[in-house]
Symmetry: C2
Subunit: 431 residues, 2 copies
């Protein structure tokens, strides 16, 4: 049995959760794995607040750099969040050959290339299970469990806040703004919710998953992103009436060797497993050429779920230290198993289109004429009866290129009978 001494940088909610988990289940972990994780040092600017956990004297301090230097730290766990300081801490640790565990998807999606190169150079490692899917061991599944598969596609519900908002809009029959406000008050959404609801957090995670699978470090800039602010209760109800749920869906697809990376509100069949992933839960659906379709589900964020993933990473590193086999599993091997990214305009999809139009003869004919001009064929259309002068029209299309849909939307928007900017989501007919 070997102690692995953790140096924890960042004593916030998740940091305190890690301390609690190690204290509660450390002995069991040691019995199972031979590795006893111990919280050796903690660094945080705030050494006063009560986190609901007790640590021994001398463990908590403010100096993260001294923590990294300490001979009493075998592995550095970075839980500060943000990019600038985190990058400095991780870089310093790696340069000293100290392995790092991080839950920081923004850091990895932005500087992963640089950090993994540094880890390789100094023969140490970065583990990052908690960065995607919270407590779900989906990074491990992709890197190890499915190592024998060429990955054909990944669909992910990767942001708990968005999924909570969309689910609650449906269950409580309430609009986006009201649910967002309630979520903020309940602590499910940040005061500034942009990272979540505008899709960037999901894009970071999608970039990470794509990188692992296709062997090139993608960043969020490679991902076509649309957030959930435009999703209305009407959209959700209409989708429901057609057997669909609306989810903020990350899609990573290998289409004849070219990679599609996108994050957008998507209609998925109510009968699918992903369609039943509700509330703050996340899921990753991975299709491999050998294994077929697999799916991984669990809590996508939060103190406990994140701790579970971080502890697993610490044990993995501990086993490597114990067995003198650091870098046993290449953290991020570059192999570029793809021909190129598909430009966002070239992506082919089915679409859900919502228009607010004048309730007057000929409007639908104009819209369908423009769609037809761009070779977009209509699968179904519903015009809601209303007492207003302005009525919503919902259209589901067959497959078409994004470029065609963008051009059609631009032309439709110029029509006088269109009263608001058209809204476009995607449809993914996954099983």
């Amino acid at each position: 049995m070997k102690q692995i001494k953790i140096g924890l940088i960042g004593f916030g909610t998740v940091g305190a959760g890690l301390v609690e988990t190690v204290q509660k289940n450390g002995d069991l972990i040691a019995k199972r794995s031979g590795i006893l994780p111990v919280i050796s040092k903690i660094a945080d600017l705030d050494i006063v607040s009560d986190r609901g956990v007790t640590v021994a004297d001398g463990v908590l301090g403010t100096d993260a750099m001294a923590l990294i230097d300490s001979p009493d730290v075998d592995v550095v766990v970075e839980l500060v969040g943000g990019i600038t300081a985190a990058r400095q801490f991780v870089t310093t640790a790696l340069k000293q050959g100290k392995p790092v565990v991080t839950a920081n998807k923004a850091l990895l999606a932005t500087y992963g290339d640089e950090l993994f190169a540094l880890a390789r150079k100094h023969q140490t490692e970065i583990y990052f299970e908690a960065s995607v899917g919270g407590g779900i061991p989906c990074i491990k599944a992709l890197r190890e469990g499915l190592v024998g598969n060429r990955i054909k596609e990944i669909y992910g519900i990767l942001n708990g806040t968005c999924n909570y908002i969309l689910t609650t809009m449906e269950t409580d029959n309430t609009g986006f703004e009201v649910v967002l406000k309630a979520a903020q008050e309940a602590g499910y959404a940040e005061a500034n919710p942009s990272m979540d609801v505008d899709g960037l957090d999901t894009a970071h995670k999608a970039a990470l998953l794509a990188s692992l699978v296709y062997g090139k470090w993608f960043t969020a800039a490679d991902v076509d992103v649309q957030g959930i602010r435009e999703v209305t209760l009407n959209d959700i109800c209409y989708a429901d009436s057609l057997g669909y749920r609306i989810k903020l869906l990350a899609a990573i697809k290998d289409i004849d060797g070219y990679i599609q990376l996108s994050v957008c509100p998507s209609l998925i069949p109510e009968s699918s497993l992903l369609g039943h992933v509700n509330g703050v839960y996340n899921a990753v659906r991975v299709a491999g050429d050998v294994v077929g379709t697999t799916l991984y589900y669990g809590r996508g964020a939060g103190r406990e779920a994140t701790s579970s993933a971080v502890v697993a990473d610490v044990v993995d590193i501990g086993l490597n230290l114990l067995g003198n086999c650091s870098n046993r599993l290449p953290a991020f091997p570059v192999f570029e198993e793809y021909k190129g990214l598909i430009a966002s305009d070239e992506v082919v999809s089915r679409y859900y289109l919502r228009l607010q139009v004048a309730d007057q003869p000929g409007t639908l004919a104009i819209i369908s004429g423009i769609l037809g001009k761009y070779q977009i064929s209509i699968a179904s259309v519903t015009q809601k009866e209303d007492q207003q002068l302005s009525v919503p029209i919902m259209i589901l299309t067959h497959k078409a290129k994004v470029s065609a849909m963008r051009q059609a939307i631009e032309e439709i928007s110029r029509e006088k009978s269109i009263h608001a900017a058209p809204v476009v989501f995607r449809i993914e007919d996954l099983a």
Copy 2:
């Protein structure tokens, strides 16, 4: 980059699938992991049949013992099935210090204790991802991804044949016998389907999962087993009308430190994720004290799914060989993290009860009287209208001990107005 030379014993459907996977994706696996798996030797009694894959001259032979001895074999993959010969092959390999990969749940559930002791003694290892959940990396999730969790409960749909039969009964509105026959003709069920439909295969897998989680080697004899032969189309339709699906469910629960191990037809909510696991797919739902509820889904058997899991195990072993860290992760550490098994009579559950009764006044009063005598309270009851003298009554109960239900059933069965042996399934109100 290191070649790992596979000695494959058993060139049947799955064996040929492994050869195909290694040939197709070997280079990609090498790029990702640094391990190039190579089929070095194959042993099978039949060296004539066409398996649809080509192997080099000198690879295929009949002598499994010579294969194990060969210096050209780094890892022995046992895919013969059955217990006797497989045990001999695995034992011989381990005694030579050669690591073993197996998909053989019956072997492990029966002789796991002995085989893991042998692996420890000879400082080598056994990997067995394919033994539960086919291609789903659920063993890895339990051993590694959730290592920081005390596991509170596991529910599993672990037998593809049973799940295919139950799903098809519902979708095709057809009885058990007809669906079983069609499944046999389509190759989804064995000529002798007993291992599957009588629940023993699921019990083997449940014993394996429980062993990993609670640190004692359980066998199928420790599992309370009921198969699916008694499930009728009527049961499925009635359950459906109440919002339930019927699944052959493995339940592994830690109840105040005591362990419940059971496999039986169970009504689970139609709204749950497990309720949407259909056809030959499997799923394992694991609740940990830190991570909360997680779920792992995929194909539970078959040539490709099994190959995917076997290749992942081979790569894990290859990484250990490359890093000189065999036994990096203890294959099966004994830690007995539980107080004892709950005797099957002491298990507490809700029940679904189907009776065939005389259509005469007072019958329901007699039944509810007997249930009441054993403190079993009724949650709902339906008596179907029928033109027959004999009508079905379906009862859902609240929680009660198995012993109470058994006594009540025995007493009910003695009543003249009861026309057939009562049928009892369980209800699991999982989310």
